[in-house]
Each structure stands twice: as C-alpha cells, then as structure tokens.
C-alpha cells in the first residue's frame, strides 16, 4: 500500500506542478484581476495538494512523524499568508502572492528533507519576514519621501558592504556575513538587504535626471559597491548588482549605447578579475572541464550534475536520492536536489514559476507612469530573474558557478527575508498603482476632451 502511494506520488506531484506552472503563465491571457480570479483559486488548491503529497511522501518514506508536524505548521503559514494579504490588501497581486507561497512551500519541504533543523529555523524566519512584510504595502501607499533619500541609500549600502569586507566572517572562502554573538549566533548577510537599497538608489538617482554627469555619478557609487563585493569574493552578488545597474540605466536613458558600453566594460572587468583573482580562475576552470578536476575544483559541479542526471524526468523520489553528496546543497544547489528527487519536470516548473513572477513584475512596470516606482519594480525584477539564472545555470554547468541562493527555496534567512521584502515592495507599488490608476484614467479622459 505504502509503496503504491510513494510510487504514484511522484507522478501526481509532477502533474500538480505542471498544472500550477501552466496556470501561472496562462493567467497572463486575461488582463483584469477579476477574470484571473478563478485561476488563482485553482492555483491555491493545487498548492495545497502538492504540499500534501510531498509531506505525506516524506513522512511515509522516513517513518518520522516530525514531518507531519512541520507539514501542519507550513500549511498554517501558507493559509495565513494568503488570507491575511488578500484581506488586508484587496488590490494585491494574487499571482505574485501565489507564486511566492508555492516556492516557499516547496522550499520548506525540500529543506526538511535535507535537514529538519534547518527547515525549522527557516520556517521561523519566514514567519517573521511575513509579519514585517505585511506592513510594507501600507507604508508604500503613505510614505512620500522615498524619492529624496537617494544618497542615503548609496551611503548606507557602501557602509554595510564595507563593514563586511573589513570585519566580516569568512564562509566558504567568501566574506559574506557578520555574526551577532549576543543574539544567539544569528548571522546576517548584508549583501542581500543592500540589494533593495541599491535598487532604490538607482531609481532615485536616475528617475528625473539622465544627464551624462548624473549617470557617471551613479556609476561611480554603484561601481564602488560592486568592487567591494568582488573584493569580498562574493562574485554572484557583484554580478547581480552590476546587471541591475546596467538594465536600470538602459531603461532610464533608453540608450542602447550605455548597454553596449556596459557589456564591454563588464567583459573587460571580467577579464581583469580572471587574471587577478585565483578564485575566479578556479570557477572558470571547473566550468570548462569539471571532469578533469573531479576530485577538487570540479567536485561540487560534478556532484550537482550527478544529482540532476540521476534524477531524470520524474526523480528518484523523496529520500531516495543522495543530494547531500553535493557540498552546500541547502543554499547553493537546492535546485539540483529538487531535480534529483522530484525530477526535471518539477525543476522546470519551478523555473517557470520564477519566470511567471518576473513577467508579473515587467507587466507592472509597463503600467506605472511614475518613473521612480517603475524603475524600482523593473530593477527588482531584473535582479531577481538574473539571480535565478546564476544559481540554476551554475548548478547545471550552463554558466560558471557563482554560488548564489535560489530565492524563497534556498536555505538562508537573509536571502528569504530579502526576497519577501522585494515581493512585498512590488505588491505595495502595485496596490498604489491600482489606487491611482482610477484617477489617471479620469484625467486622461479629460485631456482628450480638451
């Protein structure tokens, strides 16, 4: 009996995920939220079905009741998130909310499979993040001085990153975080939070002035942050910041030359970094030919490839694979472990859900008339999708490995909290847009009459 359940759960889980991912893209066919509503409710049902299958499977295979408790708690979180957000903010973007919950649910389940303790820790941080995040949209519709803090964002960003560079803790060879001994050894990774400040800074600097001088000034301040990150050996974040800057300048100026100059400059910088830093060379080497260095530099990536390759389309089944053979699987290679145990189909669905979220952000930014907010939504969108590209592409040898997290799924408090803040900032701007949208349309009608 149990064997039947376990075997069939694979296919039902994949089926549920495919349906969900399909809905998350199909929803774009409809323009208005009330038309999409039925899809969203269907998505919620699918989400709870997938959760049920995954956790029951986990409990059955392991014969460990703890998973059922965690299951209950995760469901409480998902229910709370969906009901509270929709109750408090009627105009919230349901698709973005559903996608976030789906990814968080999957992430917590996979984490529980990899390390129960880490899943519990992550769960607490997710709950805390939700509590804080719920206030963000409210603040966004009230606060008016965000546009005036441009240089403050930059200064705080440089300061926070600088402190890590000088006093930070070394994790896996990179200076990423500082630790608060007084708070029970909580570590805090500023580069995650600075991402948000960075986008605000770019939007503030460029929303009303795109003269060459202003762009050079922005480039200088952004460049300082990127260089600090490179020096801290946090190459993934450095790349995300750089790409974010490049695209925001592009959208602000609409000038393709800046994009080209940026790409040329980026390539040059990459070459210089390749020559200067040993750890950059190692990454490239491991990407080009991991099999020749399978014992050392290529170990991580080959183990990740084994995981993805062994999983095949429907996966080996929860707890039936060996994802822990990959070093740092919970943070940097969680996508590979999903592919291994749930299969490639689920893996691709996860990517599609992320793409759907990105599409929502781009759609939102298209409709915003206030440049400042448009750039924030756009900037967050680009940095979000590029981070997914880095972590998924790195884990499957599509691009060199940079070691960044998969938003909402990877283990890491700073990462999941920042990702939630980002999504709720977009919710705030979306709600603001909905509220002002009515007024705009009226005004436009008046314009035409004149």
């Amino acid at each position: 009996m149990q064997e039947y359940v376990i075997e069939l759960s694979k296919y039902f889980l994949a089926g549920g995920m495919v349906l969900y991912a399909f809905c998350s893209l199909y929803a774009f066919r409809y323009r208005k939220d009330n038309e999409r509503k039925r899809i969203f409710i269907f998505q919620n049902i699918l989400m709870f079905v997938v959760q049920l299958i995954a956790f029951v499977d986990l409990a059955l295979v392991s014969r460990d009741v703890r998973y059922l408790f965690l299951y209950a708690f995760v469901q409480i979180f998902l229910l709370t998130a969906i009901t509270l957000v929709t109750l408090i903010y009627e105009q919230a973007n349901r698709l973005l909310l559903n996608n976030m919950c789906m990814l968080l649910g999957i992430g917590l389940c996979m984490l529980a499979r990899l390390s129960f303790d880490k899943a519990v820790k992550q769960y607490i941080i997710v709950m805390l993040s939700l509590a804080i995040s719920l206030a963000i949209p409210f603040l966004f519709t009230r606060i008016r001085f965000l546009k005036k803090l441009t240089w403050v964002y930059a200064a705080v960003g440089i300061l926070m990153l600088g402190i890590v560079l000088i006093m930070g803790q070394v994790t896996h060879g990179s200076k990423l975080s500082y630790s608060f001994e007084a708070l029970g050894g909580i570590t805090f990774q500023p580069s995650e939070f600075v991402k948000i400040l960075f986008v605000f800074f770019l939007a503030g600097a460029l929303w009303e002035d795109i003269s060459l001088n202003r762009i050079l000034l922005a480039a200088l301040l952004a460049g300082m942050q990127v260089i600090i990150l490179v020096l801290s050996k946090d190459l993934g974040s450095a790349l995300i910041f750089f790409v974010g800057f490049l695209f925001v300048v592009f959208i602000a100026t609409r000038n393709y030359l800046y994009l080209l100059a940026g790409i040329a400059g980026g390539s040059l910088a990459a070459c210089v970094a390749y020559r200067l830093f040993d750890h950059v060379r190692t990454r490239v080497l491991a990407w080009q030919d991991p099999w020749s260095y399978i014992d050392n530099q290529g170990y991580q990536i080959t183990q990740s490839l084994f995981a993805v390759g062994s999983g095949s389309w429907f996966g080996m089944g929860l707890l039936k694979g060996n994802p822990k053979a990959i070093p740092f699987v919970e943070s940097d290679f969680i996508f590979s472990s999903i592919c291994e145990e749930w299969g490639l189909i689920v893996g691709i669905c996860v990517i599609l859900i992320c793409v759907s979220s990105f599409l929502t952000m781009m759609e939102t930014s298209l409709r915003i008339h206030d440049r400042f907010y448009q750039m924030i939504v756009y900037g967050i969108g680009v940095m979000y999708i590029f981070q997914i590209f880095l972590t998924v592409g790195g884990g499957i040898k599509f691009i060199p490995l940079t070691g960044v997290t998969l938003p909402f799924i990877s283990y890491g408090g700073s990462s999941v909290m920042t990702s939630m803040f980002m999504f709720f900032i977009i919710q705030g701007i979306y709600i603001r847009l909905q509220q002002m949208g009515g007024r705009k349309i009226v005004r436009r009608a008046n314009d035409q009459e004149e």
Partner: protein, 488 residues
Amino acid sequence: MSEERTTKKNKKEIVRRLGNQREIKLTFVFFLLLFAGMIGYLGHFVATSEQDMVNNSYNSRQQILLSRNYRGTIYSRDGEVLAETVLDEEENEKREYPFKNLFAHVVGYSTKGRMGVEAQANYYLINTHTSLSNKVANDVAGVKNPGDNVYTTLDVQIQEVADKQLAIYRGAIVVTEVKTGKILALVSHPDFDPNEIQNIWDDLVENQSSSVLVNRATQGLYPPGSTFKIVTALEYARENSDTYQNYSYQCNGAYRNGESKISCYHGTNHGAVDFRKSFAKSCNSSFANIGIGLDRTQFEETLEGLLFDEELPLTLSYSKSSVHMSADMDTDEMLQTSIGQGRTQITPIHLNMITCAIANNGILMKPQVIDRVENDEGEIVKGFKSDVYGRLMSEGEANILTELMTAVVQEGTASKLKGLDYTAAGKTGSAEYNNVKGESHAWFTGFAPAEDPEVCVTIIVEGAGSGGDYAVPIARRLFDAYFKEEMQ
C-alpha cells in the same frame, strides 16, 4: 542657437512622455530567450547524459540503486545465463559466471571496477522495471527488487568453438553478423575466471607482461601484416579504377628500391603476377611495387575513411588503430607500410569492421553486443536496433575486394577453405613482430558465403606462424559452426 536648444529640450520632453515600454518588453524577451536556452540545455543534458551520470564511479547513487535492487542477469542470445547474482546461505550476494573463463573479457566483471558488458550495461542492470505489484510484494517481504536483465548478441556455441580453437595460444577472435553488426563471439587469450576476480586481481595487476586483463580483440594493437593489403589494394583500385585489371609485375622473390628491399614470405618466387594473383598469393614484392606508386595524400584520406587514427563506433572499451602516412615519408617506410609492416597497428575488431563493410557492399554496421533489456517478467524495457555507421567504400570497390578475397581462397593462401559447402572469402596475414625474421602472428579475416555474406570472422594467433597454416583452419571451424547452427 537658443531656438535650437528649445527644440532639443522639447524632443527630450516628448521622448520622456512616450515612455520606455519597448525597452521593458525587450528586457523581458531577452530574459525569456536566456531561460528558454537554459531549459533546453537542461532537458538535453538529462535526455542524453543520464546513463553516463549514473555510471560514473564518483556517483554515489550507484550504491543506492544496488542497495535497493539485485544486479540483473546477463544472457546469451539464446537465453543461457552468462552472469547472474545469487544468494548464498547467509543471504550474501555473489556474482556468478557459469561459463567461467569463456566470456571473461566480453562479459567482464563488476567488482574491482567494471569491464565488458557488465560495464556497458551497468545502468540497466542496477535499475529495475519490475511491476509495481512486485515492488509492493518485495517491500512487504523485505527483499530487494530484481534488476533488469540484459540479453546480449553472444552465441555460446560459436564462442566455445573460438575458445577451443585458439587453445593455448595468445590471441583474439571476433565473429560478427555482417548485415546487423551483432557480435556473436569475442575471445581474447590469455583469459581468467571472473568468479575468482577478487582473489586473482592482485596477481593479474602485478603481472604486467602477460596483460591478461586486456581484451585483445578490442584493445590489442597488432601489426596487420598482409591483411593490410586489403587497404593497399582498395587504394590502388580507387586511383586506377579503369586500368587496375591491366596491372602486371614480374616477381623474383624480392623488390628493391635503392637501399630498401622487400622480400616475399619465405623468399617465394611468384613469377609473373597480375593484380588478382598478387593479392591471392599475397606477393610482397608486387605490393611494394604497387605501394610506391600510390598518391600518399589520397592514401591518407582513404585511411581516414577506414577509421585509422579515428574513434570507432564501439561501446566496449577499445584502442585506436594507428597508421603513419604522409607526403614526405621516406621510401623504405612507404614500402613497409604498403605490405602492413612498419609503424601501422590495428585492433582485431577494427579489421573485422573493415571486412564486414566489404561483405556488406561497403556499408559498415555499428558493432553491437547488447540486443535488448527486459524486466524480470520478460517485458522489453529497451531494444537496440542494428544501426548503420556509414559507407566506407563504394559498392563497386566492395565488389572488387570481395572478388580478390574469393581468389585468396580459390587459388591463394587460404586454400584450406576451398571446396566446402559454402564459398568463403578472406585475406591471410603473417605479421612479423619485434623485427625478428621468421616469427610472425597468424592473421585471417574473411566472410562467408562470398555470394551473399552472412558471417564475418577475424582471427589473430600470436607468434604461431603463417596465417594460411594457423589462422585459416580456425576460420573454417568457425564457419562450420555458424552454418551448422543455422541448419538446426
């Protein structure tokens, strides 16, 4: 000036109002393409590399699969067990090879590394496609699931004949089906008992000189000797497609060119020979004469086309054959190369593949040793169809060579195959090695029936003597065995 400035300002204003929708859409399309590429790459990776990933010895998931499934059984083409996993009284798993030494190299072993079919089919053997109800029953009973079974193309009777004929000699025998590329027998001597691999491993590894673990049929590199005249003849016929039949040469036992001298085997004086007779009698002097006139650049291309110095379409581990051919090669080396001595080295399986292509009108079928994979209830999990590798020579060229090789049997060095129920065709070789005169490996490569070829054999007996005396009789036994079995 001031006017200009205001228009500029206006333009800027307009631009700002028009908005940046196009750029946002472009950004989206850019990332969409990037992700489409990545998902495509991911799908391609999983679809094509799954087996390699599971088979890699660094992949710990093999142990996981083996802890859940018994290793499957390997069968011969008619269902005899070649390798199976059995349980002893203490429920310990043991891999058994009922035919002991007979299939040592081709079926191989699965502990102490893997070799042969055990290595090639590892992925299938450790996975299971047993029915769900069986899985449930096994789960309840607390036993492992049976792994999938692999049916090979190997024929026990022909393998036994080949093994018996090679007897105490070192060497190798390859027997294949011409039209399908199926390997019927693959013998390499000296051999070992894979049942004892745990106990004898250290000795085998230490004792490098006998190289027992090397599969001579696919990994052994030998000088081709006169069997290489097939290649030289092909090149000559290619370069002189209209006039090759008019070729004539007066053999007096040796060919001289400056300092260089090529002698016929045992100094035999062949007298006046044409192209056909030069080949049938394996006249070294005549072939040295042919070789010196060949266009070396074209010859290089022909050799490449016959897969010298190239990867072979073979899933068993093999060595690449090597040949040296260039426009600026000195005369002596060119003469030596033309008659299959010099620096040329070939594996028996490669020579077999060239022979098969001749027998199959110029088209090479990929050699195949796994026929199908079945689950424990006999349902086919995966079937392997015979697959064309490509054309190695034109149909006309294949016919010319078939004619020449028939003459070798009818009036030449393989006369021990003459006057049987079937017409055989082939080429003998007596390849000198270690530069010692008189000591030679006995070669034969050929097929039967010549009119409509079915089976192809390649034999090398190390240090036995002439191919006509030592390899041809083995070929006869193999042909006999094949046709006898076909009659039944």
